[in-house]
């Protein structure tokens, strides 16, 4: 556990929902699916995500119900652990540490105390083996699962490449099947070496490679999907010569996944066509289709009562489909488009993140629920999936301050002569959606580089101005005009065109009060009066073009910040028209917090991203986080909090009103699938592991907060703080709770209204008492190490050095020492 107070990066959403086949619970009431590092429990009836089961340190690669207890779930992850969960309560029961990456997980009813997993073979790249992992029975929660016995070498890495068949009554025992690129192997389990290899020679070329395999639940029949779109049903496969197969062919491209119904009478298949095909009685003539599922199907799973099935799509969506092939509902995660051209924009109305979604669409993504709220069709043209076709896509998005107006720019992919369209959308309260108001064809002669609204709440609609900058060396100002027609609608037209020495305009931004407009023209930042459109002054920091500019806010509104692609971050004073300070920093993202004067700059240097938070009026950053994450951070956004957070405000005032989110590209080497993750910076809280520790943790945290808040006039609602602990106590199943006598004190304590004005001496005494015991705690070591790291970074930074003051350091130590005092107190 990391000590509270430290800042860390939390992966908070947008992860791929298609890490593994989803699983229905035995009663089909819940759908369990993988979302990045987490397993989510979704209620099929209420369409709500009930629980988030986190604990794995890396991507979850497989989930399976425990065949002996349908309320339990096994999950395996790339972090090398297998966890057994009680998914009804969302608590981990056991953790088995295997030690190597686990790529797929299989359970078998007849194997009492072992599960099967696919692991990479040691010492060899790209070869994998199927192992049976013996799950040791032990009392503790963390157990070793190192007893591996290799079942088969050279299997495919994907979970779709292995299927376990029915148990055969004959002495040969149950069989399982593996298919890999070009071969299908049948293994009878009791005779480990008895391998029948089918169709090894028949595959010529790469065309009929196997893509997936499933077993018939009742009969000895195997269905395999192939890269050429065929499905083959193998029978009689125990005989080397007399095996036979029939072919079902509808898909025109690779069959991505197959699933048999519970009686085996129906077979579902899906592929890139985004059509779910249902085959009846293995006949190629009787088939039903569910078309227009939106995007290629990657996994299909079937509920145990055969009532529901769900498909996982490549665009991060889960569709739940009824048995009569009616689309029922869907869970839409973040759509990862190829290129997030729009950047991360926050919708002021819903506080949702807005970015490119499906081609030509704008997605509104809710970070709280990790689901897509809404998808707005901007391009309004049929998207044709074809390589090399020039598509129109959305490149720029801007919201007005209240979210009433939305401006979008779309352009075709042609490099030389882009077909540009600027669209302005008005939010219609009645239909609760954006309506197209004005469409402007070819607003600029070349690509539009930036766009912003003058957003002044107090001045009303009249002040609403849109500025676009283009590579055609001008910036244009667009204003609303009343239409002449009797309905009195408004539309947008160009009001002013400005240019500067025929340089390409790259960025634009309004000052907080809207009186000034800054437009960067290659190396120069120009400042314009927004009333008269006069050029006021220019700033320049050669060499290097301006990459980002922004105005300071609130107390720092006299500053303008610019980042150049030559690796400089400059701050100019608008009053003196002089450079206030500059720092050498390769800034990739420059993001001002809309609600405070803080500005976040994310740099990319030597394969790591670093975060710097600063106020424009002081050259020293208020916060530095080196090595924020290994991947390149593409975009970042401050999302306003619903209510200002107070707890962390002391150390991180810049996180008080907003949260910082950022977006990275993560590449998983084996599968070459691009995944997107949202990360957020969050103040660390101790991770709950069991309800008990959760309870304890709450208290500890509460105490810590108390300590940090000491000497401050903060009204702290203890009742509110305590209530989760009580809730937790009441909602935890009885069999996992510690004895009532043990809990009693905590419970009573949580109900007490604690003394606000506890004197500092008292606290200090307590600290003295407990510090001895807590000294050996490893976490403390971590903290100091982290501190050292921090300082070393600061030294490296050169001109941006910053040191914690002695008093700050002292305070920090105090917090740390107080941390575990409550454990022993109990």
């Amino acid at each position: 556990m990391v000590a509270p107070g430290a800042l860390r990066v939390v992966r908070c959403g947008g992860s791929a929902l298609r890490g593994a086949r989803a699983v229905f619970s035995a009663d089909s009431k819940y759908l369990l699916y993988v979302s990045g590092d987490f397993v989510k429990v979704y209620s099929v009836n209420t369409e709500e995500t009930l629980r988030l089961m986190g604990g794995h340190a890396d991507l979850v690669t497989g989930i399976q119900l425990n065949p002996h207890n349908h309320m339990q779930l096994y999950s395996c992850s790339l972090d090398g652990t297998i966890k057994l969960w009680d998914f009804m309560d969302g608590i981990p029961i056991k953790t088995f540490t295997v030690g190597t990456k686990l790529l797929a997980l299989y359970t078998l009813a007849s194997a009492e105390d072992s599960v099967f997993a696919v692991i990479p073979k040691k010492g060899e790249r790209d070869t994998f083996q199927l192992v049976s992992v013996t799950l040791t029975k032990g009392a503790g929660q963390d157990l070793e699962g190192k007893e591996l016995s290799v079942v088969l070498d050279g299997v495919g890495a994907s979970m779709k490449h292995i299927a376990f068949g029915r148990e055969v009554c004959s002495p040969s025992g149950f069989f399982f099947l593996l298919c890999s690129v070009g071969w299908l192997v049948l293994v009878f389990f009791s005779q480990m070496n008895c391998i029948f290899s089918l169709s090894t020679t028949k595959t010529k070329g790469g065309d009929n490679r196997f893509s997936c395999v499933v077993c018939h639940p009742k009969e000895d029949c195997i269905a395999t999907g192939h890269a050429d779109g065929k499905i083959r049903l193998w029978r009689n496969f125990h005989d080397k010569k007399e095996y036979t197969y029939s072919t079902l062919h509808w898909h025109h491209d690779i069959v991505m996944d197959l699933a048999f119904s519970i009686e085996g009478t129906r077979l579902l298949s899906g592929g890139v066509e985004s059509v779910l095909v249902q085959w009846h009685n293995e006949s190629s003539c009787q088939k039903d289709f569910l078309p227009r599922l939106g995007s290629p199907i990657e996994y299909i799973s079937m509920s145990s009562d055969g009532d529901l099935c769900c498909t996982l799509h490549t665009d991060n969506r889960i569709s739940i489909i009824n048995s009569n092939l009616r689309f029922s509902r869907s869970i839409q995660g973040l759509i990862k488009s190829r290129d997030v051209k729009t950047g991360l924009v926050v919708d002021p109305r819903t506080k949702a993140l807005v970015l490119n979604g499906e081609p030509g669409h704008l997605q509104f993504y809710s970070l709280q629920s990790d689901q897509q709220l809404f998808s707005l069709d901007i391009v309004q043209r049929q998207y044709i999936h074809q390589a090399g076709l020039k598509q129109s896509d959305l490149v720029k998005v801007a919201f007005s301050a209240q979210g009433t107006w939305l401006a979008t720019v779309e352009e075709s992919e042609e490099v030389t002569d882009p077909e540009l369209q600027l669209k302005l959308w008005f939010y219609n309260e009645e239909i609760q959606s954006f309506e197209l108001n004005t469409r402007i064809n070819t607003p600029h002669d070349n690509h539009i580089t930036d766009m912003c609204f003058r957003d002044m709440d107090e001045l009303g609609d009249d002040s609403l101005i849109l500025v676009t900058t283009g590579r055609d060396c001008v910036f244009k100002v667009w204003v609303m005009v009343e239409d002449t027609d009797p309905e009195g609608d408004v539309s947008w037209s160009c009001d002013f065109v400005g240019s500067y020495h025929n340089y390409q305009a790259t960025n634009c931004c309004f000052s907080e009060d809207g009186s000034l407009l800054a437009v960067s023209f290659e190396e120069t930042v120009t400042v314009w009066d927004s009333l008269t459109w006069d050029l006021k002054c220019t700033f320049c920091h050669p060499p290097g073009n301006i990459r980002n500019i922004c105005f300071g806010r609130l107390t720092c509104s006299k500053y303008i910040i610019g980042a150049t692609d030559y690796g400089f971050l400059c701050c100019w004073n608008l009053l003196t028209c002089a450079l206030e300070w500059s720092a050498q920093l390769n800034v990739v993202v420059l993001q001002p917090d809309p609600l405070s004067e803080y500005i976040a700059a994310i740099s990319w240097l030597s394969k790591e991203s670093s975060l710097f938070v600063f106020k424009p009026n002081e050259p020293l950053p208020v916060y530095i986080q080196r090595n924020l994450c290994k991947d390149k951070i593409l975009l970042a956004a401050f999302v306003p909090r619903d209510e200002p957070e107070i707890t962390s405000s002391e150390k991180y005032p810049w996180l008080r009103k907003s949260q910082l989110f950022f977006l990275t590209d993560t590449q998983i080497c084996e599968t070459k699938i691009l995944l997107t993750f949202f990360f957020k910076l969050a103040v660390e809280e101790s991770l709950p592991v069991t309800p008990f520790s959760l309870l304890l943790g709450k208290h500890r945290h509460q105490q810590a907060q108390e300590d940090t808040d000491l000497g401050k006039l903060v009204v702290h609602n203890k009742q509110k703080q305590a209530s989760p602990a009580v809730k937790e106590l009441l909602h935890t199943p009885a069999h996992v709770l510690p004895s009532a006598s043990f809990l009693c004190t905590i419970f009573i304590n949580s109900l007490l209204i604690s003394k606000e004005k506890k004197s500092a001496e008292e606290v200090a005494d307590e600290v003295e008492m407990e510090s001895e015991k807590a000294e050996d705690d490893s976490d403390e070591e971590d903290i100091t190490a982290m501190e050292q790291e921090d300082t070393s970074h600061m030294e490296l930074l050169g001109e941006m050095t910053c040191k914690l003051s002695k008093s700050q350091e002292k305070e920090l130590r105090k917090i740390r020492k107080m941390d575990y005092s409550w454990i022993s107190a109990l």
Binding site: R166, V168, C169, S170, S172, E219, D220, R235, N236, H238, D239, K241, E242, Y243, T244, Y245, S246, T247, H252, E282, S283, S284, C285, Q286
Partner: protein
């Protein structure tokens, strides 16, 4: 410049007739096939599926059904209402016996081959007794309304199942009563269309398998009258059905050209419960598959696109051999083209007429592989229609191009061709001596003054051709006693002094070379002869057998030549032996006596006896690789078989003179376009 100037002829508009029905010999050695024009062919499985016998059709005699009965006797029945027995040694149809129930749609023999059951237009099922020398009406079974389209005997001969439109019924043979009548689509609510039961089979377990026009294959328990299983194999009609002898596999032919195999498989490994499962689909045909047969090791299907496809069942074949490959036969294994070398004329034989064409000519020369422009286009000189309903057995044009002869089942015709300028006239030669019909082969001598006619019982008649248009029967050559009656004469091309004729019996393939009298006999070989020719200068007889063996027999020395012995001891190349179709024509290059030119449907080969024979490790078709090699390396790589696969499918090849070759091709696509449109099917991506 290449070795030969090639006339690439593509104007032979042959459209082979579609396959109507198939009958596998009960012992599985032969396959009888009837075409839609009434022709009946017999394929010998043992001799690499060689088309051993062809009985040309008859306008009035369509064949709807064929069956083998009483050993090797072949019976056919058709819409004329007659049951015909075929004389397989004499290659003719015997006089038919009237079935007495109108057009006959189906005929099956019982398991012992002693009785034939026919299904008639009027709804009656009649039983005929097979007696020596013919058949005898035995009795009528229960007659119901509705034509009987298909019949099947129970393996124990106690019951017959008869399929009609919308229903089938089971008839007890001993009592003659209908014991069960099952509507095949009574469970379909208000079926608008009628459901034709196209094929039916009664299994020993009492299961009736029916294939109907709704594309279904259904399994019925006839005693209960219940449907056990139904497989919709196709969206269009299922037309034909055949069950393997073990009754564990069924082949179904459909009107889309696809065939499907159904297999009886255990539901679970080692379990007792078995179920019919549709397994492999095959799409070999473009048109209706009207006939299927199930041999122990292969699925055989014949379609209206004239193709006969033999698809081996790999799991039943023990070792890799000729049988283990897919075979497709579209064109006959015999010559339909003859060539007048000197006059540069080609005679094309169709089923009821002949066409005489003059080859085009060019004055240009060019490099190897170049297409030369024609200065004179090929010219269709004359079309000669055969009289009467009978189809043509054989035809020939004399080397000088002035005589044309053809034969039908009952008559032999000889014509004199007069070419004067642009006009061509044909005059029938009067008073052609009556022969014992039919003539199986015709051959003019190289100097066009005599004609050899191969006829029944291995006899060869020799005619002398007289100017300006007459002929005289000189004498008849007869094979040595003991083989007569069982042999088919086979006339070789080219003879030295104009008097050498060889004949071959197909059943006991020995070659007799009488130089006006019996000269010698080639040792017998257990395979049918597919082509033979006598070298004009060395008098060596080159024989190609249907198992792809090549033998060279020296007639003067009355023994095999040393080259032939070398070939035999060494063995031919594996790729040569595994070829698809038999050699149909052999000719020689007068410029180079060591060259033998031969061809089958897919390749043209110049066999150079002076070069070493290839062994299995070398590439047989090495012409393209040789071209890339330098001169010295090429010498080392050369072997006797110089193969050209440029012309496909090749129906005929002959040498006009030393460096001029004529090849007759019939591209598959050309004749496919002349077939009726296939069943419309939606193809993805079109």
């Amino acid at each position: 410049m290449g070795e030969f100037e090639v006339h690439r002829v593509r104007f032979f508009g042959l459209v082979p007739a579609g396959v109507r029905c198939l009958a596998c010999h009960p012992r599985g050695s032969r396959l009888a096939l009837a075409r839609t024009d009434g022709a009946v062919e017999v394929y010998n499985f043992a001799a690499n599926y060689f088309q051993e016998k062809v009985i040309p059709g008859h306008e009035l005699r369509t064949v709807e059904s064929l069956c083998w009965a009483a050993g090797d006797r072949l019976f056919g029945a058709g819409l004329s209402g007659d049951i015909t027995e075929y004389d397989l040694s004499g290659l003719s149809a015997a006089r038919g016996v009237d079935g007495g129930g109108g057009p006959i749609w189906s005929m099956v023999a019982n398991s012992t081959g002693t009785q034939l059951a026919i299904g008639c237009e009027d709804g009656s099922v009649k039983i005929f007794q097979v007696v020596p020398g013919g058949i005898q009406f035995e009795r009528n079974l229960d007659r119901r309304k509705g034509r009987v389209l298909c019949l099947s005997w129970h393996p124990s001969d106690t019951h017959i199942v008869a399929g009609s439109i919308d229903f089938f019924r089971v008839i007890d043979v001993t009592s003659g009563q209908t014991v069960q009548r099952i509507m095949v689509n009574h469970h379909v609510e208000k079926a608008k269309r009628e459901c034709v039961v196209w094929a039916i089979s009664l299994l020993s377990s009492g299961t009736v398998v029916s294939a109907d026009s709704f594309g279904r294959v259904q399994f019925w328990d006839w005693e209960q009258g219940t449907l056990a299983e139904s497989h919709t194999v196709s969206t269009s009609a299922a037309l034909s059905l055949a069950v393997s002898e073990k009754e564990d596999s069924i082949i179904v032919g459909t009107s889309t050209g696809a065939t499907y195999q159904l297999q009886l498989l255990p539901v679970t490994l080692g379990g007792q419960e078995k179920r019919w499962v549709r397994t492999k689909p095959f799409q070999f045909h473009s048109h209706d598959v009207r006939a299927v047969a199930h041999s122990p090791t292969a699925l055989i299907s014949g379609g209206l696109d004239a193709q006969l496809v033999i698809r081996p069942l790999m799991e039943k074949i023990q070792k890799k051999s000729y049988d283990a490959a897919l075979r497709k036969f579209t064109f006959p294994h015999r010559r339909l083209v003859s060539c007048a070398r000197k006059a540069r004329l080609l005679l094309f034989q169709f089923s009821q007429y002949l066409e005489l064409w003059r080859l085009g000519s060019t004055e240009e020369t060019g490099k190897d592989g170049e297409v030369l422009p024609l200065c004179q286009m090929p010219e269709h000189l004359v079309q000669l229609k055969s009289k009467g309903p009978e189809h043509i057995y054989c035809s020939c044009v004399s080397p000088c191009g002035t005589w044309v002869g053809y034969s039908t089942a009952s008559r032999f015709h000889l014509y004199r061709v007069h070419c004067d300028g642009d006009g061509v006239s044909l005059r029938k030669v009067p008073k052609v001596p009556k022969l014992l019909p039919p003539a199986y082969q015709l051959q003019f001598s190289a100097d066009s003054d005599s004609l050899f006619v191969a006829s029944a019982r291995g006899s060869v008649h020799v005619f002398q051709l007289l100017e300006p248009g007459g002929c005289k029967h000189l004498h008849t050559l007869r094979p040595p006693s003991g083989v007569e009656g069982r042999c088919l004469p086979f006339l070789p091309r080219g003879s030295a002094q104009g008097g050498c004729v060889a004949e071959v019996s197909a059943v006991v393939p020995s070659v007799h070379c009488p130089l006006l009298q019996h000269h010698c006999t080639v040792p017998t070989y257990n395979c049918a002869v597919s082509a033979l020719a006598i070298h004009p200068s060395t008098n060596n007889l080159v024989i190609a057998y249907s198992d792809q063996q090549l033998l060279e027999f020296s007639i003067p020395e009355k023994q095999y030549t040393s080259w032939s012995r070398a070939v035999q001891s060494r063995g031919l190349h594996r790729a040569w032996l595994e070829r698809d179709s038999p050699i149909t024509h052999i000719t020689f290059n007068p410029k180079n006596p060591s060259h033998i030119l031969l061809h089958d449907t897919y390749l043209l080969c110049v066999l150079d006896k002076s070069l070493p024979l290839p062994d299995d490790s070398t590439l047989l078709m090495n012409q393209s690789t040789l071209k890339q090699l330098p001169e010295t390396a090429r010498k080392r790589q050369l072997h006797a078989f110089k193969i050209c696969k440029k012309f496909q499918p090749l129906l005929f090849m002959d040498l006009l003179d030393e460096n001029c070759l004529v090849v007759v091709e019939r591209p598959i696509m050309d004749f496919k376009t002349q077939l009726p449109l296939p069943v419309q099917q939606k193809k993805f991506g079109t």
